[in-house]
């Protein structure tokens, strides 16, 4: 019988109501829930009045939470249950708490722990290269290694990839990130109210709305602020525009990687057209400055709504025709199909989310399962094409592009009325003391979640951010197993994960 209690997604809970269990029962029960199909949304440490504590938020068909005192070392959970793997490494790195027996205890982002405890990984942080570490090695006469990054050949973020190959075949890919670490969580904990929304929007610029919404909803829950129906519609439109721009960009880039240049260029241009629609809405192509605690900063006036409608009507047939061009090309299908497959069982163990998870048969979509904003009134269908390969990851995007266009057209069909808010700073100055809020939204890469704890004075005690990429990078490593190394760019693009969202 579990003592974890259900908590509302996007709602406020008194910290006193969250069970504080002895460590052993916390461990046993968390393992039990996840072994029975539960997923880890958050598992993090925090310091409260001089003592260290752990908190877990797990997901079944609802959210379950419990906490415990954090021992200095403890028998790891990962060995019994893989989805805890990266979370335990993160806790070890952030607070110097050692999970004994962890099968792959290495640093996540390469920084000193907050408590100045002896480093769990024996790193010397005067050496400022996160790649300064003994990579996993495969031994044998024919084995060779390929090292890529941190600076990549394109205009993209930095990270290191280490391939162990036999001939052209990849036996193992190890991904080491951390180059982008900016100290986001520490900043969020100490930020002035006027800075908090800006920081949230810059966690990952391509997921500005996803992270912005998680921040705003958490503050709204903690400050008991209501958002009007119009603002919820505008936020939903913005999140779908973000999804459209990114999915279309990804589909174009996938074409580039299989040398089908015409649709790559069409979608490159059309992606920009969708970014411009975010600019139409709020003056910024990535939606920065739109979402604030309490609502949105820009109303959807009828003239803006009309322009939006006209543009979407103009773009929709172009998008459909390019999609048809891509998916009817036998050369594209020949390259996409069967490439970089991730089995449903592996996806489940790794805890994949978003299009990558759905492509491998994990139907979860936060828009349907934990609907926020206007999503309770919308129908989000389940994905049925789950072959787990590049084709499936492209096909999920194909479906979602169609759905997002439909959603936006439906929402801008009638007048939207909202009272714009400015900085939302008032709400931020009145957070409920000793409370906890967890928010989830389906960003274009999958489940984005923020967890916020307040102390007894209503200050932010711990601000935990989780980008979907935190779950999905290992999915890319898994996809590359036994795949030709020349298919890495294609697979990488089919996941298109965030470096800065992971590195924080």
């Amino acid at each position: 019988m579990t003592q974890f209690i259900p908590i509302p997604s996007g709602g406020r809970v008194q910290r006193a109501d969250i069970p504080h269990l002895p460590f052993d029962s916390f461990r046993t029960q968390a393992l039990e829930i996840v072994k029975n199909g539960g997923k880890v949304v958050h598992f993090f440490a925090y310091e409260d009045q001089g003592s260290m504590k752990l908190m877990a938020v797990l997901r079944t068909d609802r959210l379950l939470a419990a906490g415990c005192d954090a021992p200095d070392t403890y028998p790891c959970l990962t060995k019994a249950c893989e989805p805890f793997h990266l979370f335990e490494r993160e806790i070890a790195e952030q607070y110097g708490i050692r999970p004994e027996g962890h099968p792959w205890l290495k640093m996540v982002r390469y920084h000193e722990n907050i408590r100045k405890k002896p480093d769990v990984f024996n790193n010397d942080y005067t050496h400022d290269i996160p790649g300064n570490y003994d990579y996993y090695q495969v031994k044998g006469d024919e084995i060779h290694e390929v090292a890529v990054g941190p600076v990549h050949a394109g205009v993209i973020e930095p990270g290191h990839f280490r391939f162990n190959c036999i001939g052209e075949r990849v036996l193992h890919l190890e991904i080491q990130l951390g180059y982008q670490h900016r100290g986001v969580e520490a900043l969020l904990q100490t930020a002035k109210p006027k800075q908090l929304p800006i920081l949230a929007e810059n966690i990952a610029g391509d997921t500005t709305i996803g992270h912005g919404l998680c921040m705003a909803q958490a503050v709204e829950a903690l400050a008991s602020v209501q958002v009007d129906a119009g603002a919820k519609i505008i936020r939903t439109i913005a999140l779908e525009l973000e999804r459209l721009a990114n999915h279309i960009g990804d589909l174009g880039a996938l074409c580039m990687d299989v040398a089908f240049l015409a649709p790559a260029n069409y979608f490159g241009r059309i992606r920009g057209d969708f970014l411009n629609l975010s600019l139409l809405l709020c003056g910024n192509r990535f939606g920065k400055g739109l979402v604030r605690p309490g609502g949105v900063r820009f109303s959807l006036d009828d003239d803006i709504r009309k322009t939006l409608d006209e543009r979407i009507k103009e773009l929709k047939p172009q998008v459909e025709h390019v999609l048809e061009l891509i998916f009817s090309a036998s050369t594209v299908r020949a390259r996409f199909e069967g490439c970089g497959s991730v089995r449903a069982e592996d996806a489940d163990h790794l805890g994949l989310v978003g299009p990558a998870g759905r492509a491998s048969g994990l139907a979860y979509d936060a828009r349907r399962c934990f609907a926020t904003e206007h999503y309770p009134h919308l129908l989000i269908p389940e994905n049925a094409k789950a072959t787990g390969d590049v084709y499936a990851r492209a096909r999920v995007r194909y479906d979602e592009v169609h759905q997002s266009i439909e959603i936006i057209q439906f929402l801008i069909g009638k007048s939207v009325d909202t009272q714009p808010v400015e900085g939302g700073t008032q709400a931020l100055q009145a957070l409920a003391p000793s409370s906890f809020a967890v928010t989830l939204n389906e960003g274009w890469r999958g489940e984005v979640s923020h967890a916020v704890l307040t102390d007894d004075a209503g200050n932010i005690l711990r601000y935990k951010v989780k980008d979907p990429s935190f779950h999905n990078w290992n999915g890319l490593a898994m996809a590359l197993r036994d795949t030709g190394i020349s298919d890495f760019p294609l697979n990488n693009k089919s996941f298109n994960l965030s470096y800065c969202g992971f590195d924080l």
């Binding site: 920084h111 920081l199 391509d206 015409a262 260029n265 600019l279 709020c282 003056g283 920065k288 009817s328």
Partner: protein, 248 residues
């Protein structure tokens, strides 16, 4: 085959005519800030207090475009009495101090390093380095390669190797963990080399400037030749910066 041809006709010719004509940008776009010097001092102070980036110089009534993220808080608070963000996207500067502005920017084309125009005016190869950028600046640089902007028609390209590059284009607040890789990339570029800083984070640390993990501006690490402000800079801002700085 028929689908390919049909699509090609539907797509048509999409490249903008910039710099001959300025493309229209939607009205809510916030470009160059222009300041009214007659604004009431209390109003200026109120704007400075509300500015999430602390980008307003109250005494001189100026705004620091290096820190500014163009959120428009000051414009809305002062109802345009102190600041208005115009639709002008041509806001890059060759000197950091020029970023502190009242809206009167020196002509970028007249910068002090005119020999760069002779060297790189007909062919300019760029190596982009993201040093903890949030992927917004990166995306709006990447978009320059798409048909609408078509950077290659000016003889400008992004290249894969710093050995092939004339300049590095840096985005992001330069995290501690990226500093060495950035410096190594810079050193790999043959001299004379140009350094271009893109985005508020790169110019001053931006929203992350309070973190010990990042630099307070690329110019504290490398000599910067061209400063392109914005969060992120509009692709047309990037394009203008490159053309005005390098073309005759």
């Amino acid at each position: 085959m028929l689908t390919i041809l049909k699509n090609r006709f539907e797509q048509g010719y999409r490249t903008c005519n910039y710099p001959k004509e300025k493309p229209a940008v939607f009205s809510r776009y916030r470009g160059k800030p222009v300041i009214r010097k007659t604004a009431d001092q209390d109003m200026v102070s109120a704007c400075a207090d509300a500015c999430p980036q602390d980008a307003i110089d109250v005494d001189n009534k100026k705004i620091d475009m290096g820190r500014c993220i163009f959120c428009g808080t000051c414009e809305r608070l002062s109802k345009g009495e102190f600041v208005t963000f115009t639709g002008d996207f041509e806001i890059s500067t060759a000197k950091k101090e020029d970023l502190l502005t009242d809206g009167d920017l020196p002509s970028l084309a007249q910068h002090a390093k005119q020999h760069f125009k002779k060297l790189f005016g007909r062919s300019l190869q760029l190596r982009q380095v993201s040093a903890a950028g949030c992927n917004a600046c990166e995306a709006d640089l990447n978009v320059l390669a798409t048909p609408f902007f078509d950077l290659a028609r000016f003889g400008i390209n992004f290249v894969a190797s710093p050995r092939h590059a004339d300049a590095i284009v840096v985005t992001g607040p330069v995290s501690r963990n990226m500093k060495t890789a950035l410096l190594q990339t810079y050193e790999a570029v043959p001299e004379p080399r140009v350094v271009i800083a893109v985005g508020s984070c790169t110019l001053t640390g931006g929203p992350f400037s309070h973190s010990a993990e990042v630099a307070k501006g690329l110019d504290t690490i490398l000599p910067v030749d061209l400063f392109i402000p914005g969060c992120p800079p509009h692709p047309l801002t990037n394009l203008h910066g490159l053309l005005a700085f390098f073309k005759a």
